[in-house]
Symmetry: C2
Amino acid sequence: MDNKQGINEAIEQVQALLGDRISTAEAVLTQHGRDEFWHHAALPDAVAWPATTEEVSEIVKICNATGCPIVPFGTGTSVEGNVQAIRGGISVDVTQMNAVLSVNPDDFDATVQAGVTRKQLNAHIRDTGMFFPVDPGADASIGGMTATRASGTNAVRYGTMKDNVVAIKVVLPDGRIIKTSNRAKKSAAGLNLTQLFIGSEGILGIMTEITVRLHGIPESIAAAVVAFPTIEDAVSSVVETIQAGVPIARVELLDDVQLDAINKYSGFDYPVLPTLFMEFNGGPKSVEEQIERTRDIMNDHGGGEFRWETQEEKRNALWQARHDAAWAVKALRPGCEMWGTDCCVPLSSLTKYIMDTKKDLENCSFPAPMLGHVGDGNYHLIFLIDPNSEDELKEAEALNERMIRRALAVGGTCTGEHGIGLGKKHFLVEELGEAVDVMRTIKLALDPNNIMNPGKVLQEPGEVSSIITG
Amino acid sequence: MDNKQGINEAIEQVQALLGDRISTAEAVLTQHGRDEFWHHAALPDAVAWPATTEEVSEIVKICNATGCPIVPFGTGTSVEGNVQAIRGGISVDVTQMNAVLSVNPDDFDATVQAGVTRKQLNAHIRDTGMFFPVDPGADASIGGMTATRASGTNAVRYGTMKDNVVAIKVVLPDGRIIKTSNRAKKSAAGLNLTQLFIGSEGILGIMTEITVRLHGIPESIAAAVVAFPTIEDAVSSVVETIQAGVPIARVELLDDVQLDAINKYSGFDYPVLPTLFMEFNGGPKSVEEQIERTRDIMNDHGGGEFRWETQEEKRNALWQARHDAAWAVKALRPGCEMWGTDCCVPLSSLTKYIMDTKKDLENCSFPAPMLGHVGDGNYHLIFLIDPNSEDELKEAEALNERMIRRALAVGGTCTGEHGIGLGKKHFLVEELGEAVDVMRTIKLALDPNNIMNPGKVLQEPGEVSSIITG
C-alpha cells in the first residue's frame, strides 16, 4: 500500500514543526536507509531530528493522523535490516537527544536521552566509580540498544539490556507519553511494560529516555587467553567453569580462521587454534581464586599456556587480538560486505552445534570466521560476501538457514542479540509459533494504523520473507 | 455484573470434563477464597484441579464461552488479595500439576509444571550441585511465584522471578496454548512475552509450565550478623557495601521492635537494636574478602560485634532469629491477623524513608515490626491487627497509604514483591499514570471477555478501590 500523499502531508507538517531539523536530501536519506551488515537499502522519504520528547510526540501524532510510517533511528549500527524504511515515511533520528539527564551513584542508575551512546555515558560517569557494562561492539545509542535488546561480551556476567534497563519513557503510536516503571531496584507493580519495550525494535513506539543500571568498577580486573586443540575442549571447559560458579566477566571464543585472520592483519603469532579470551572481575583475592579455578579446569581440557595479566596496559595488549577481530575479518576480503549470523543455543548443545556448523562451512566459497560469546551459547559467523554476486547471497542465506534451523531444533533461538528486523520474521514464527500471533495482537492494539516501523519483526499472514528479499 | 447462569453452565461443563476433580464443597471454597494476609474473603463458585495443560485449555475455553471468571490458584500464599474470587467463578488450582519435567545441569535450567513448589524443586535437584534461589519465605508454587514476580531474601544477588524465569507455557484466555520463549540463555527474538507474563497476576492467562534458571551451589557460604546504634548507620553501610562491589547474597534489616519480639519468642538476648542479617557466597577466598570488606565498612558506621560463621550448623544458629521472625511477630498479639506493607524505594532514599515511617508509627495502636530486604530498598511493616476492629483497619490503611505515597514521591514503587492484587489498583495508577491504560489495552486485546482474574491489578475507569473494601 503506497501512501505517498499521507507521507507528503506528514513531511510538510513536521517541517512546520521542526524547521530545518527535517531533511529530504539524498545523502541524508541514503545514510538512514541501511545499517552495518549487508541488506538491500530502503530509503525513508525524510529524516527528522527532534530535540525533545514533546517534539517526538508531535511528530508521531502527525504521522498517526496521516498514516505515515515512522522508523526510529539511533546510530544506525544495527545489523538485521532493523532501520530500513521499507515502506518509506520518516526516519526519526534521536541523535540530537543526547543529554545525560541524571546520574545517581547511590542508586546505581542513570537516566539518559535515547541518543546518548554507551561510550558517551561511560565517559560521563568516569569519576563516579561506576560503569555501564553492556557492550555490543559498536558505540550504539542507548535507545537503539534498548530497542534491539543488545548485549555483547559482558553479558555473561552483567546481563543484556533486558537486565540493565530500569525504566523507559516512550512515545506511543498515538503520541501519548508514558513512563514504563518507577526507579526502585525491583517492583511487582503491574504488567512489565519496560520489558515489553526492550527489544521491541521500534514497532510499539519511540523511546526517548532510558534509565539504566550502573555497576561498580571492579577493584581488580584480569584478562586471560588460552588456546585449545579443539573447539570441543574450549567449549566444554567454559561450561565447566560456569558450573563451578566462577563469575567470569567475559569469555569469547575465536576459531582458527579468525585467529589466522588476526595474525595476518596485526602481525601476531597466535597459534592458529580455537582460542578463549577471558576477563575476570572482583576483589584481588576473588580474581586470583577465579583464575586458579579456571586454569585448573582449562588444563584438564587440554588448554595450552594460560596467559593472564591484571595491569591495564598488559591486559589491553593481551586482548588486542580480540579487539582487532572485526578489522581483521574485513581485511580478509577487501571490498566485501559482512553478513553476520546470530544464533544462541543452550550451552549443552553448543559444542555439537558448532562442530556441525564448521562441517557446513567446509566447501564455503567465501571466508566465514567465527566468534562466540560462548558463555551465553551465542555465537556469530561473519560471511564475507560480494554483494553483487547472487550466488554468494544465496549460499550465505542457505548456510544461515541451516544454522538457524539447527539452533531451533535444540531449543535455541534465531537471534541472540541482533533482533528479528527484516529478514528473520519467518524464523521467529518457526521459533515461537502462535506466540507471534500474541505479539501481533499487542502490536495492533497499540498501533492500529501500523505506523511504527511497519513490516518489521512480525510476519504478516501469507507473507513470505527472506533476508535477501526482505 | 452477575453472571450466575454462565458460571453454572461452566461448572457443569467442567464437571463433565474433570469428574470429581471439581468441587463446590463449602470447605474447599473457603480454602480458596483468601490468601495469607488480611483481606475480606471472596469465595469462588467452584474449585477445579486440572492435571494437564490441555485440560486447563479446555476449562478456559468453556469459561470464555460462558463468561465465567477464572482465578488461577497455586499454594494460596500470596498476600495482596490476588486469589480472592471477587466475581465468583472457578478457581483453577494447579497443585496437581506438580511434576518436575526436566533438569538440565549443563544449561542451568529446569522445566516444571506450575504447581511445583520451590522447596520441592530444590529437593529434586539436590544432587546436581545446583539450586533455585528465589525465596519469598512461603513454600510457594513456581507458577504463583512467576505470576506475582516474587523475590525475597536472595534477590539482591540472584534477582527476582523476572531474572530467573526463562520461558513459560501459557494457556491464553481463548484457550490457545503458547510457549513464550526458547531455552537459550539470551534471545532478541521478538516481543518479550515471558516478561509480560511474569508478574501478570493471572489477568492474561494461566501458566502451566515454567522453565527456570538454576545456579551453582556456592563452594563457600558465610552468615553474619551485626547490630547498629541507628537505622541510618545500618542502611548507609549496606549502600556502601554494595557500592564497593561486594556481591552480597542476602542482607536483611530487622528493627528494634522485631528484635525485641524475637528475643521474647525464642529466648535470645540480641541487643534490641537495628540489626543486619547477611549471607556471603563464593569461593572461600572470595567469601573471606567479601567479609573483610563488609566488616570494615560496617565498623566505620558504628556497627557492633561482627559475628560470622561458615559451618552450616553455626550459620543456621546465627540466622535462627531471622528465621523465627514471622512466628515471633505473630506471637506479639495472639489472635491477630497480619497486614503487610511492601514498599520499595531507590537506595538513596531508604534511610530517610524508613526514619519518616518510624515516626509515623510512634502513636500506632498495634504492633508494627519492620523487616527489610534492604539491599534492594524493599521493606515490610507487619501490622498486627484485630480484623474485627474497623478502627484498626482504617488506621492500618492510612499508615500504608502514607508509606506508599512517600515511596512514590521519591521514585519508588507501591509494591516491591507482593503485587497489586485487589487493594493497590489505585496506587498503581498513581505510580504509573497512563501506562496503566496501556496495560488495560493489552489485557482487553488478549482477554476481550475479561474472564481472567477479573477485577485485579487494573482499576476500571471510575472505580474507587481500597484495600479494605477491595
